[in-house]
């Protein structure tokens, strides 16, 4: 570091040349602009010629607005994952624990996983794009995906994403595979350092739309305000967003506020012991104090009134009595098996069997797992547990250990699954060599393996 005398000399020297820096800056700006123009021409041309995405490039990233997931008709599921590097072990690749450049994955009807490709027309073969997935949220009708131009540790399924001005959050219509830019619809900000956080979670799903809330923070103006609660849906081939709530109550002034929505599109705000409901017509009602509102797995919101009578909110946001009441809720990431009208969720070392009678009514049956370990991986029918010298598996539908006993004398260190029925493991053999292996859906074990091509973080079936 310089002495103060040296600093003073340098400051005075710089200050005595008032125009130089500005002119240099201007020149640099022009050079930058010209370079950008040239680069843009080159890049746009490259994209246009090479990727077939012509004319959709902005200065920061490729815009995917109104583009399609290529060959979407052949999709059975959509997810996110990454491709392990050449030096990366197969199991760390399959585990999803390590970070990497994550991207959108497509799963075709045969279960084959590929990196998603993007096209201007739904039936085109499309091309891959160099953008990483930073977040993914799956709803029944929509998938929300956040992209980043740099490597990120993805966060699934709920996510926060910024910065605002990058316009990198897209909504995918699960019926058509078309992408719509979400952030470009939000109000513009003039502050370059202002960022916006979009928060989306399983609890924001409604039958024909989804909700999210935005918080912005920045130094240039009042900070940390919740911009509001928003409704999003696709109509007439356009993504539309409507602000449901703009924090006129000032609830977010350092308070611990919770937001969620119900299946009918009513929105709920809980500020400590005070709750509000906003119906689809944006009519806001304050509810009685100290109500414990719960969003159930069926998307309805229930509570018990002062007389302990079960009540819920109807399509208009009105409180009505209900015969069915359930506080059961699971996140999509906890779903381990779907079998007709029965779903199985794994949470806190217990399997929960959910049997649907109709859209609303369901029964919950906890299934104790005969023996569980911290390290596990799930496949379509089994939960594989890893306990040092053994790998064993539990049948999802019963919680019982089955007779699968791989005769491999290894000290297992990790296991993971790839959503195709394969379980990948790492182990150490008796010679203290590292071993990587695979157990297929039939229980066959092999240690001569072809590296798993994809590291799957999260996959959710399309309807």
């Amino acid at each position: 570091m310089k002495t103060n005398s040296e600093r003073a000399n340098e400051v005075l020297k710089r200050a005595s040349q008032p125009c130089t820096k500005t002119e240099t800056a201007k020149n640099k700006r022009w050079i930058t602009i010209l370079s950008c123009c040239l680069a843009s021409v080159i890049v746009v041309t490259s994209i246009g010629l090479g990727l077939g995405l012509g004319g959709v490039f902005n200065s920061d990233f490729i815009s995917l607005d109104k583009m399609y997931l290529a060959n979407f008709a052949n999709y059975s599921a959509i997810g996110a994952g990454s491709q392990p590097g050449a030096n990366e072990s197969v199991v760390s690749a399959a585990s999803g624990d390590s970070s990497g450049d994550a991207f959108l994955l497509s799963v075709d009807k045969e279960g084959k996983i590929e990196r998603a490709r993007y096209a201007k027309n739904p039936n085109d073969n499309g091309k891959e794009i160099p953008m990483n997935v930073s977040g993914l949220q799956h709803f029944e009708n929509y998938t929300v995906v956040g992209f980043s131009g740099w490597s990120v540790n993805p966060n699934y399924p709920a996510f926060e994403i910024g910065p605002y001005y990058k316009k990198m959050t897209y909504v995918i219509d699960n019926h058509t595979g078309k992408l719509y830019s979400l952030q470009s619809l939000l109000p513009k900000t003039n502050y370059p350092d202002k960022e916006i956080v979009i928060t989306i979670s399983d609890k924001f799903e409604s039958y024909d739309c989804f909700y999210f809330f935005t918080e912005s923070y920045g130094i240039s103006e009042a900070n940390l305000t919740v911009d509001g609660l928003w409704r999003a849906y696709v109509e007439n081939d356009q993504l539309k967003i409507e602000q449901v709530y703009d924090d006129t109550l000032g609830l977010t002034d350092g308070h611990n506020v919770t937001y969620f929505s119900d299946r009918y599109g009513n929105s709920f705000i809980i500020d400590n012991n005070i709750s509000y409901v906003i119906n689809r017509e944006s009519k806001l009602n304050r509810l009685d104090d100290d109500l414990k509102l719960v969003r159930s797995l069926n998307g309805e919101v229930y509570f018990k009134n002062a007389q302990q009578k079960a009540q819920k909110f109807d399509e208009n946001g009105n409180v009505v009595d209900t015969e069915f009441y359930s506080e059961t809720f699971f996140y999509k990431k906890d779903l381990i098996k779907k079998d007709g009208k029965t779903n199985y969720y794994l949470k806190n070392e217990t399997i929960y069997k959910i049997t649907w009678e109709d859209d609303i009514k369901f029964t919950t049956e906890p299934i104790e797992i005969e023996r569980s370990e911290e390290i596990y991986a799930t496949t379509k029918d089994y939960i594989y547990f890893c306990a040092n010298k053994i790998i064993y598996r539990v049948v999802i539908t019963t919680g019982k250990i089955d007779d699968f006993r791989p005769s491999v004398p290894y000290y297992f260190t990790s296991i993971s699954s790839d959503n195709l029925g394969n379980v990948w493991f790492t182990a150490i053999n008796s010679d203290m060599d590292n071993v990587t292996g695979k157990i297929d859906n039939d229980g066959n074990v092999t240690t001569t393996i072809t590296p798993n091509e994809f590291r799957v973080y999260y996959i959710n079936p399309l309807n």
Binding site: M1, V11, A15, P18, K21, D193, S220, A222
Partner: protein, 181 residues
Amino acid sequence: MNNKKIEFQNFADKQVLEAIFEKYANRIIGYINSIIKDVATAEDLMMDVFVELIRRNLSFDCENKFIAYVYKSARNIAFNHLNKSSHTTRLTNELLEDTNELENQILKNDLTKKIYHTMLFLKPQYRNVLYLSYIENFSQDEIAQILGINKKAVKNLCFRAKKKLNQVLSKENLCFNEEEK
């Protein structure tokens, strides 16, 4: 050490500038560094603050106004730099020495150092307000003036930043409370 009473005017006078630097240079460098995390560039940007001040021939009738201007200017320059740059800083031995020297001058104790190191992992906005609040010990009114926002917003920002800081500190079984300032 220049014992002359500091006057916040005539910054083109080398003696005035040295006296100002004696008292404020490292603090401002520390502040900029808390945003951009590059002490060498922070020193350079600190000088830019004063270059601009001289060019505009500014003067201040009291220290508070000077501080508000200088920190605000430093903040703007730092964020402008952050927005423009995508470079990565190579941590050379020389840079490490500079960082240690700076830290020894502006950070009073081990806990403050720990907080400083930890907050460097947070987002720039958080680092910014935490530095002003807990390293510089500026009041919320002063921070509001520097950041050009209202006091309520400062309070909110501090609340959120401190929460994030504690999340990181808690991983090391540390907790930061106001009393520990």
